[in-house]
Symmetry: C2
Subunit: 243 residues, 2 copies
């Protein structure tokens, strides 16, 4: 088993044990690289692009802005995540997508993707698993916003991020780098920035987690998990889910 190169391959590798051939097939997918500066729309409402992207580095969020100017962030994409896959395959996109940091991304043509799947069918399974996990995340997010209070929501979100980052080797169960401002956090969690600040202070005072200087430090994992009803297996598992 060789070294896994790209974040994308690392992510899929968390679901299916990849052979060398499959890994190189994945790496071939990372064709033309594009760089996006922070704050520029990558995909906007209704646009149906011909290309999707795989993030190589940086963070991206997809959001919707309402008439009164309020913004709701639906989810974030981190290195290894597909971007625009839904809008390409399923042509669904009623919200904007833009980087929150400088982003490097591999342009992926759907044709190439499908060809890769034909060569190594198990990759298709892995991609579907990964996609399903991302979608389950949106559902969890909905449940969070609908039925959890501010503290629980925040804890859940920070754990969720940690779990995803760990998958691609960008963090551990004790902490990770996180470039999100408290304003972004607020629009994600359906709260005001002021209140996010207070909640973060409370979590810090409770000795659960700190979020300062772009760094999340998890001090009491079990406490956080209990507070957020988070499924700890997301954080704990180490090898691929399918042998």
């Amino acid at each position: 088993m060789s070294v896994i190169h790209s974040p994308f391959a690392r992510k899929l590798g968390a679901f299916v044990a990849l052979s060398n051939k499959e890994q190189s097939a994945l790496d071939r997918l990372h064709g033309r690289r594009k760089v996006f500066p922070a704050g520029v729309d990558m995909v906007h409402q209704g646009q149906t692009d011909q290309a999707a992207y795989i993030l190589a580095s940086g963070w991206v969020c997809s959001y919707k802005i309402l008439a009164d100017g309020t913004r709701q962030i639906v989810d974030f994409q981190i290195p290894g995540d597909f971007l625009g896959l839904r809008s390409v395959l399923f042509r669904t996109s009623d919200h904007n997508i833009e980087p929150v940091t400088k982003v490097e991304a591999s342009e992926v043509l759907v044709r190439d993707l499908l060809e890769t799947f034909n060569e190594t069918p198990r990759l298709a399974t892995a991609v579907l698993w990964a996609a399903s996990r991302d979608e389950a995340m949106v559902v969890e997010h909905l449940v969070s916003i609908g039925r959890r209070d501010a503290k629980e929501r925040t804890a859940h979100f920070l754990l969720e991020l940690g779990a995803r980052l760990k998958l691609v080797g960008l963090g551990s169960t004790s902490g990770y780098a996180c470039p999100l401002s408290q304003y972004l956090l607020a629009d994600t969690l359906g709260l005001s920035a002021v209140h996010v600040n207070r909640v973060l202070r409370e979590l810090r005072e409770d000795g659960l987690v700190t979020f300062q200087h772009g760094q999340v430090e998890i001090h009491d994992l079990d406490g956080l998990v209990a507070l957020a009803e988070f499924d700890k297996t997301y954080l704990d598992h180490d090898g691929p889910l399918l042998k």
Copy 2:
């Protein structure tokens, strides 16, 4: 162009103009019928069934229950909707699914579904369109709960339901039958049942919409659309979206 039989065919027909051959291929999908009484789990957390269902009649909801007993309903399925497609194809299911009314459903084996797609590839497109619409709905729901107040949320939801029911011929822009209790509504919108009641009263007093005796009557469509920032084209279009 013959008569469209099943709710499923009607729904797909709203996206793609179907030939006679394609319609009969769809009707062949409606294999073994199953009947589920109200209130019984059809699919529960984590279960990965071999079969999906197409609803022939009745209403179903998928939800998640938190440790403190509160429930968040993620979405509803109505006649013509796929049920468990995600959990079958993508194996995603971290929430329960159960009927809120007595439900008749056609069991669909994935094998049959894929074969049908091979015969008539345009059907695959239609299914993906329909699936993407359902998924966009979940995202809209998230935005609603995160950033709209109780009145706007309720208006949005009632319009959303109306649009979907109209697709399968079960309602019009002036009203539709709706078997949901105010408790179900509350758990859907992330509100308390008490407050849902008050909101419904306000909407009635505003002359916008009434929701009584299992019947939704839309009295001021434009007012509702404005309140909810709802995309009116969902309600207005009549023919298929793709010729």
